[in-house]
């Protein structure tokens, strides 16, 4: 093949161009620390990265949801714990009042204390988390019970009645959990409703104490109160189980986040060692091409003819 001057120039130029393109690409990898800076660098990996980022974002959100849910559950648990304390005290009072040695005066005093306990229980049920009342179903703006003689539940059935959605948190892809405990389930609506729930039972006991009705106190009241204690225990057990579930979910989500981050990094992050080695070898090649080009382009037969 006949090699002409313009061919040599074109080839030298094309080679230099190619090398400096490669250098620019490697340089941008080194600067951005990313293997893929545009979808066309590797369409498959780029779309994978888009998906991974979205999953990662969702995962972070689930973790945030669980944190909120855990706070909610913890507040519920402490409210239930304080109700449990009140309940134990009420049982002590009932035992004291039911003995034959108790007389009218002491029973009246016990009834007075029991009224305080009822108010305390209601106040515990009015517990709030972040400005939201947690035991009134979805009625989070108003306390579920009024302190005083009115025992009627003021909230709604959200979360208690399966048909009505309560306070729900999304804790995983497509996984939701109802996290609220409705106070009505335990406390009920008092004597007026006759629902045989905690407030009804406690009011009855107070009435029996005031009426000095030792037989009733010894008979049905203790059994009825114990049934409430059992009920409370079962609610707390349910709450505890849910808290455990949340903790397990957090651990799992943390692991998934780690796995996703690793995968994302593998997909789009540049291998710095490799990039730097590439960069150095390409820079060396570029300089060599420059030097060779300078020699080839400059010299011609003219240099050697006299």
């Amino acid at each position: 093949m006949r090699i002409t001057t313009s061919m040599v120039q074109r080839n030298v130029l094309a080679d230099l161009n190619m090398l400096s393109n490669k250098l620019a690409k490697t340089q941008s990898k080194a600067a951005s620390q990313k293997e893929i800076t545009r979808p066309s660098d590797d369409p498959f990996k780029a779309s994978q990265a888009v998906g991974l980022r979205a999953s990662l974002g969702a995962n972070e959100q689930y973790i945030r949801n669980i944190e909120d849910a855990t706070g909610w559950m913890d507040s519920t648990e402490s409210a239930l714990d304080s109700i449990s304390g009140f309940l134990n005290r009420a049982r002590d009072l009932l035992l004291q009042g039911s003995t034959d040695t108790a007389d009218v005066t002491s029973r009246l005093a016990l009834a007075g204390e029991l009224d305080q306990i009822i108010d305390g229980i209601k106040q515990s049920a009015n517990a709030s988390y972040g400005g939201r009342y947690i035991m009134g179903g979805t009625e989070i703006d108003n306390p579920p019970y009024e302190v005083g003689p009115n025992d009627a539940y003021q909230g709604d059935e959200g979360g208690l009645d399966p048909a009505i959605p309560g306070i729900v948190r999304e804790v995983g892809p497509g996984v939701t959990m109802t996290i609220n405990t409705v106070a009505r389930e335990l406390l009920g609506d008092g004597q007026a409703a006759g629902d045989d729930k905690l407030l009804h039972v406690l009011r009855d006991i107070a009435d029996h104490l005031r009426a000095n009705d030792g037989a009733a106190l010894r008979g049905g009241d203790l059994t009825r109160l114990d049934a409430q204690v059992d009920k409370l225990l079962s609610i707390r057990a349910r709450n505890g189980a849910q808290t455990n579930r949340l903790e397990a979910a957090t651990t799992r989500l943390d692991q998934i986040s780690l796995a996703l981050t690793t995968q994302l990094s593998k997909t789009e992050d540049a291998d710095i060692a490799k990039v730097m080695i590439d960069f150095n070898s390409q820079a060396a090649a570029y300089q060599a091409a420059l030097r060779a080009g300078a020699n080839i382009v400059q010299s011609s037969l003219m240099d050697f003819l006299r």
Binding site: R132, I140, P165
Partner: protein, 448 residues
């Protein structure tokens, strides 16, 4: 037949003149070493018609041919038309891919993926805002955040769509500049017609206007970049040039002999190949960018339908095209607190939750992911094809340059060769001169 005493002088003079023409041509080649489209030239030499003489000593007494020197019969340009045709075919395909790659490049840039400002990141933030709202269903700040994120997402969708439309319009504008009457093709057509005329005039007289023909070839090379061309050689040295539709094979004349025929692209659709074909493939109605716009519109549509469906009301409003008109409903924009998070009490969050759970929806996130892969894949393939076409074009161009290009080394050695030949001719002439000097000045002077 006797031979003139001055015959030798004439022979050496012819030699001198011929070597001078060779030197001139070499000078012309060197001068044009860097001229685009120049093909090197060569003076064609032929021995002058010999003088037939009778030689007494010859065997049959018939005669002999006495060489009479050299004549320059013409100057030819050294060029391979087969390589020209090959180059033009490759150039057409190179410019096709190049035009596509450039237009798609700006379309891809507008996606801003992967990154924090792309639609994908905005979508994630949008879903997160709803999820946050489901955690605090009656919190005004959370509702505000939902509206803010929704507007951020709208901005991303609108700007991606607008930039794609801009890329499309840019490509169409470029196409019009090339193809419309008065555009580049028209100008080349006029110049080609003029060149055809001048070249045929010269060829009639028997001289080859090499440099004009080079100029004409440069114009044909340029045309081949715009579209696929056919070149028909006419008897008088003139050319018929036409664009040829790459699929139907229909010819659209640019120049017929000495008349410029180009009056703009055909009214219906066509696929001319080359830069025009590439631009059309990307930007014409129903082209690649239109496909991208459809994807964005259907994404916006799906988003609005899914969110409104889950919301049970109007959160997004859309018009046509969906991607450019989708917006947060005006009442919600005016009063973010009016967002209802749930169907029950203030703490109910079933609606917000239902929307947050749309994350990863196949028609939204899934469709967008596939869209990014499609845009990236298209550009990736186009760039690869462009690189291939570039390599092929370069190799044909190298072969063409190998034939037609000027080699300095060759010209230098020719320079030396012709100079020496000139010197030798001059020496031969002085020898003749000395010989005649003896004859004229010193002969017949006996006794003087």
């Amino acid at each position: 037949m006797p031979v003139s005493s001055f015959f030798g002088l004439q022979t050496t003079l012819r030699g001198l003149i011929a070597q001078q023409r060779m030197l001139d041509t070499t000078g012309h080649n060197i001068a044009n070493a860097a001229t685009v489209g120049y093909s090197r030239q060569e003076a064609t030499l032929a021995a002058t018609r010999a003088l037939q003489i009778t030689v007494s000593g010859s065997i049959n007494q018939v005669g002999a041919h006495l060489g009479a020197g050299v004549d320059v019969t013409g100057f030819r340009r050294i060029r391979d038309q087969f390589l020209d045709a090959q180059y033009r075919a490759q150039n057409t395909s190179l410019n096709d891919w190049k035009a596509r790659a450039e237009a798609l490049d700006s379309a891809e840039l507008s996606l801003a993926e992967p990154g924090e400002n792309g639609i994908s990141a905005q979508l994630t933030k949008f879903w997160q805002a709803w999820s946050d709202l489901s955690n605090a269903p009656n919190d005004e700040a959370a509702k505000q955040a939902v509206v803010q994120q929704a507007q951020g997402l709208m901005d991303s969708i609108h700007s991606v769509r607008a930039q794609m439309v801009m890329a499309q319009e840019g490509a169409m504008g470029q196409y019009d500049q090339i193809a419309q009457p008065g555009g580049e093709v028209s100008q080349i057509a006029t110049e080609l017609a003029e060149l055809n005329k001048v070249i045929s005039q010269h060829l009639v007289h028997g001289d080859a206007p090499n440099d004009l023909m080079d100029r004409r070839d440069v114009l044909l090379d340029k045309l081949s970049g715009y579209g696929q061309i056919s070149v028909e050689q006419l008897a008088g040295g003139s050319l018929n040039v036409a664009f040829v539709d790459a699929t139907t094979g229909t010819a659209y004349p640019i120049v017929s002999d000495q008349t410029a025929e180009w009056a703009g692209p055909p009214a219906g659709g066509w696929s001319p190949g080359g830069q025009m074909g590439g631009l059309l493939a990307v930007a014409k109605p129903g082209g690649m960018i239109d496909g991208y716009l459809d994807s964005i519109d259907s994404l916006a549509d799906n988003l609005a339908t899914a969110v409104n469906g889950a919301y049970g009301g109007t959160f997004f409003t859309t018009g046509a095209p969906a991607g450019a008109t989708i917006a947060v409903a005006a009442p919600i924009q005016a009063n973010p607190a009016s967002i209802t998070s749930g169907t029950g009490g203030p703490g109910s969050n079933d609606l917000a939750l239902a929307i947050a759970q749309l994350q990863g929806n196949a028609g939204i996130d899934g469709a967008y992911k596939a869209f990014v892969a499609k845009v990236g894949g298209d550009l990736n393939e186009t760039t690869r094809m462009q690189t291939n076409a570039q390599i092929l074009t370069d190799s044909v161009e190298n072969r063409r340059q190998s034939v037609a290009g000027v080699s300095m080394d060759e010209e230098m050695s020719n320079l030396v060769r012709f100079q020496r030949a000139y010197q030798a001719s001059a020496r031969a002439m002085s020898t003749m001169d000395e010989m005649l000097d003896v004859l004229i000045n010193r002969t017949g002077r006996v006794g003087l």
